[in-house]
């Protein structure tokens, strides 16, 4: 007996009771579609984390100076001297003032103002849309110049050219020398798109700010990151005579920590979905057992005209596998559709479909049919023809 004939037979049986078939498949459908959807949400999250940190580059170290009293401060020149350390390619000391009033003509908005140096653009992997970025001379002469993010440019100038226009930042006039390309949010959630970037010394004076809180340090290569971190830690510990008052983040460490957190959550959700697949399998077993006792007479007739144990076993096994396989296929389609629709339902959440997961979920569902169909099918095949024929 060929497998195709078994399938035709199973299809005929399954079609003869469509409602029961669909109800039986439901568990598998829910299981497979939720596994696929949850995995694609998990992978989407992990991708969006990667994308967030991509802006920083993996060679980047962030040094935070807590600035508790004079003892744990470094000034601009002290920080820049570190740039000559082997393994360090650039340093950008940075000060940020959030929600600062920025005015152009009669329009007033609040933006984050960042004071930094000429290295900042490369370190943040930013690109210019128009004009130029800060130059060393702007710092040396404490020039009143500003580079603005794309959102700022859009808000104040629309389609007009912002270059050489005067911007009132916290009461001081700055000339716009450049506009950044749009980039999206970075690690800290603040976006360069809505920032006004000015020379650090100019900002310190105008804003009467204290010490520098943050410095971005770029290692020459990925291999240098750990060595540079050790050197910086040793330097700061020596300088401050303390191991508190500062911390150094390594961007790849941050990425992997957040990835781990998100994948742990995803794995737990997938485990719950897999349990529902298992419950679906038990549903199939239950229905197959009912089917076997309902069809005892049929089994008797088939055996009396020459069906062997194997024929009956395969008939019921193929039926169970067909039900779970169809459930798996519907679940697969539903899962893919849900994954594609999810970002529309919840715009802050990306999804990323993976062919492998879909395939595994489908194969697993078919396997569930085989495993849970085995017991009822074996029970059917063991019936004695005479007992089965007498059954009413």
């Amino acid at each position: 007996m060929r497998i195709w004939e078994l399938f035709q037979m199973a299809i005929a049986t399954v079609r003869s009771n469509p409602l029961r078939t669909i109800l039986t498949m439901l568990g598998v459908i829910i299981g497979v579609s939720s596994v696929i959807t949850l995995v694609s949400i998990g992978q989407g999250t992990s991708k969006s984390i990667e994308k967030q940190y991509e802006g920083l580059g993996t060679n980047l170290l962030t040094v935070n100076l807590l600035g508790n009293g004079r003892a744990t401060q470094l000034n601009y020149d002290e920080l820049m001297q570190l740039e000559s350390t082997p393994g360090i390619s650039a340093i950008a000391p940075t000060m940020t003032r959030n929600s600062t009033n920025v005015k152009y003509e009669h329009t007033e908005e609040t933006y984050n103002v960042i004071g930094t140096n000429d290295r900042y653009l490369d370190l943040q992997k930013g690109k210019m849309a128009d004009g130029r970025f800060l130059a060393e001379a702007d710092l040396d002469f404490r020039n009143h110049v500003a580079v603005i993010g794309s959102d700022v440019a859009k808000e104040f100038f629309g389609t007009e050219d912002p270059l050489n226009e005067e911007l009132n930042v916290n009461g001081y006039m700055y000339t716009i020398i450049g506009v950044l390309q749009s980039k999206g949010s970075n690690t800290s959630g603040t976006s360069l798109d809505s920032a006004v970037i000015v020379p650090l010394p100019t900002m310190t004076r105008d804003f009467k700010l204290g010490s520098i809180r943050t410095a971005y340090v770029e290692a020459a290569s990925g291999n240098d990151v750990n060595r540079v971190q050790t050197i910086l830690e040793a330097y700061l510990a020596n300088k401050f005579k303390s191991t508190t008052g500062y911390n150094i983040f390594n961007s790849s460490e941050l990425i992997s920590a957040r990835q781990t957190a998100s994948s742990t959550l995803t794995n737990q959700l997938v485990a719950v979905a897999a349990i529902s697949l298992l419950v679906g399998g038990i549903g199939i077993m239950n229905i197959m057992l009912v089917t076997v006792s309902e069809r005892t007479r049929e089994i008797g007739i088939r055996k009396s005209i020459g069906a062997k144990r194997r024929n009956i076993l395969l008939q019921f096994l193929v039926e169970a596998t067909l039900i779970s396989g169809m459930g798996g296929l519907i679940g697969l389609i539903l899962g893919v559709a849900l994954s594609l629709l999810w970002p529309y339902i919840n715009p802050s959440q990306e999804t990323s479909l993976s062919l492998n997961v879909g395939l595994y979920a489908f194969l697993f569902s078919a396997l569930v049919g085989v495993i849970f169909g085995l017991y009822p099918a074996n029970k059917a095949s063991k019936l004695k023809p005479i007992d089965a024929l007498r059954f009413d």
């Binding site: 005929a12 007739i301 009396s304 020459g306 069906a307 062997k308 194997r310 024929n311 024929l389």
Partner: protein, 240 residues
């Protein structure tokens, strides 16, 4: 003439609680090829058990059974299934067609288990249905056919793989008398074409159609009569 069935000292007993019930008490019977034998007896005589034994649906407690030269005692379930498939065509009182399948699919069923290819199977099934005057009804479900028509389909199924033996268990029991006579004529015709037939019945009139009548009572053969030719011979059962 070659013997089709050789039953030797067949016993069958069941245990019900403490009680040991002996249904067949040492039946010995030889049925020759191309013969038409009716096994008759009242209910409880053991004729159904004998028929199940001959049909290889049930195994005897002791004794030996040779069907068409094949000894069946030490056969596995699968071996018995194959033997049923190749050598026995069943005709049941309740037809026993599969309700979900069409007439032609029912006729094809034994050929599926015999591994006959689709095309050949379908042609053969159609020929069988035509032979029984059911050529136009192949695509009807059993529920759409009358009792007589269903029994014809069942007979077509029994004949589908040219069995050595046709085993009919009260084939007219569920039919009205007119249709019953038609089916009986059909069975006689099959015998004339050379088929060996064993018919189980409780009805003497039906048994009279057979060439030989074996009467069972309380698990023993009490009478074995040959109706044809006209001279009736009464033999004693081989052993009692």
């Amino acid at each position: 003439m070659k013997s089709m069935i050789e039953l030797n000292q067949i016993t069958k007993s069941y245990t019900r609680g403490e009680e040991q019930l002996q249904i067949l008490k040492g039946i010995s019977l030889v049925i020759e090829e191309s013969d038409f034998v009716a096994i008759i007896g009242p209910s409880g005589s053991g004729k159904s058990t004998l028929m199940n034994t001959i049909g290889l649906l049930d195994t005897p407690t002791s004794g030996s059974y040779t069907l068409d030269g094949v000894s069946t005692e030490k056969m596995s379930d699968n071996g018995l299934a194959e033997l049923r498939n190749k050598k026995i065509g069943f005709i049941f009182q309740q037809f026993n067609l599969l309700p979900r399948l069409t007439a032609i699919e029912n006729v094809e069923l034994p050929m599926i288990y015999a591994g006959i290819p689709t095309k050949q199977r379908r042609d053969q099934a159609q020929r069988m249905l035509e032979k029984l005057g059911m050529g136009q009804r192949g695509h009807h479900k059993p529920s759409e056919l009358s009792g007589g028509q269903q029994q014809r389909v069942a007979i077509a199924r029994a004949l589908a793989i040219s069995p050595s033996l046709i085993l009919a268990d009260e084939p007219t029991g569920a039919l009205d008398s007119k249709t019953g006579i038609e089916v009986l004529e059909l069975i006689k015709e099959l015998n004339q074409q050379g088929n060996t037939i064993v018919l189980i019945t409780h009805d003497q009139h039906i048994a009279d159609n057979a060439k030989r009548v074996v009467t069972l009572r309380d698990g023993e053969i009490i009478k074995d009569v040959r109706n044809e030719p006209l001279i009736t011979r009464v033999h004693e059962a081989v052993s009692i």
